[in-house]
């Protein structure tokens, strides 16, 4: 299989890039893919804590590009899956510690051993963004249903296109169906109309994300987590499977469907 380098980006901070990277990486590894996640947020690394791997870091991405260690030495193997690895960001340097050229070489090196290389991009549009997109084949844009996030996503989509990434796909994160229903939150179609890019998936607002982050266990491992389930479906779409989008309003639709089924059975 040809390996894919996928950058996960958003422009705005705090919309769930790192959570998305951790969950998609884990979900792909659950299906026996070989996956490496790269944290490119140099100076503000977090993918290690979200994955619960913070105690295992010896070397980081800056050590690798500067030749202080071999690439294999810096890769941290996940505790749960044999095919899942993390390349952590450096915490004490800044974004200029690596260049887009070095990043491209690094991802090309990783292609030899991995099916999926997920690049967790820092917030912003500066050097960190340019590094993260340098070696990417595809892009995932994460946005929440808020003006500020969608506006920044629009800017980022333009910048991705300028870097030759014309096939960016969107994940709408932290959607609250109750607020959408009462007209107090933009819905999926509002956002798609404005951004006009392909929808990869929708992740509901879910407290289980906070709990799983507290524990350092991605939500996809939790069968009952709604957000985890959404991420598992998104991972299948990434692998090229056709997985239907569930309704925004999953719970109430399911309720109505169930009710209809009961009526049919009764007849």
């Amino acid at each position: 299989m040809k390996s894919r380098v996928i950058v996960i980006t958003s422009g705005k901070g705090g919309v769930g890039k790192t959570t998305t990277t951790a969950n998609l990486g884990t979900a792909l590894a659950m299906t026996d893919k070989k996956v490496v996640m790269i944290d490119t947020d140099i100076g503000l690394r977090n993918l290690d804590v979200v994955m619960g791997l913070e105690n295992r870091i010896v070397f980081d991405i800056v050590d690798v590009v500067n030749g202080n260690c071999k690439l294999k030495q810096a890769l941290i193997k996940d505790k749960r899956f044999d095919g899942l690895f993390l390349l952590p960001a450096a915490q004490t340097k800044d974004k200029t510690a690596i260049s887009p050229h070095q990043m491209k070489n690094l991802t090309n090196e990783l292609r030899k051993d991995f099916d999926y290389i997920l690049v967790d991009c820092p917030a912003g549009i500066e050097q960190g963004f340019k590094n993260a997109v340098a070696g990417a084949d595809d892009a995932i844009v994460v946005a929440t249903p808020e003006i500020s996030s969608v506006r920044d996503a629009d800017r980022i989509i333009g910048m991705l296109e300028a870097s030759g990434l014309n096939n960016a796909r969107l994940i709408i994160n932290r959607l609250r169906s109750k607020m959408v229903k009462r007209g107090d939150m933009m819905d999926i179609n509002d956002i798609l109309d404005i951004l006009s890019i392909e929808l990869l998936g929708v992740v509901p607002e879910d407290e289980s994300i906070v709990v799983s982050t507290n524990r350092g266990e991605p939500a996809v491992l939790e069968t009952a987590s709604r957000a985890g389930g959404a991420y598992r479906r998104i991972a299948r779409r990434l692998m090229g499977e056709k997985v239907p989008m569930l309704s925004v309003d999953e719970e109430s639709v399911n309720f109505v469907d169930r009710f209809r089924k009961i009526l049919k059975l009764a007849r």
Binding site: E146, I147, V150, R151, D154, R155, G158, V180, K181, R182, G183, D184, M185, M186, D187, D190, I194, S196
Partner: protein
């Protein structure tokens, strides 16, 4: 919808939902973002337009408006220029 929501909505000053407000504000801000046009740019354009048109027509400079608008995937420069009268041909 909870009963409380219905009551609140009923007594609200206006019943435009906040997501419609968000969508409209976002649409407008993106027109400017995408064209990378600053308000200063538009003001300068407006001043120059006034200078040129004043040669030919008496216009209401106060009421003149120039703005970028988004219409089906394309951006249009829309100017609304009230005419007070024509200048007599000299």
């Amino acid at each position: 919808m909870a009963l409380l929501d219905i009551i609140t909505r009923f007594f609200a000053k206006d019943n435009v939902s906040s997501k419609d407000v968000a969508r409209e504000r976002l649409r407008l801000v993106l027109v400017h973002d995408r064209a990378s046009v600053s308000p200063e740019f538009l003001n300068k354009l407006k001043e120059d337009l006034i200078k040129v048109i004043r040669e030919y027509l008496e216009i209401d400079e106060e009421a003149l408006s120039v703005d970028l608008e988004n219409e089906d995937d394309s951006i249009a420069l829309v100017a609304n220029i009230p005419v007070k009268g024509f200048k007599r041909a000299g």
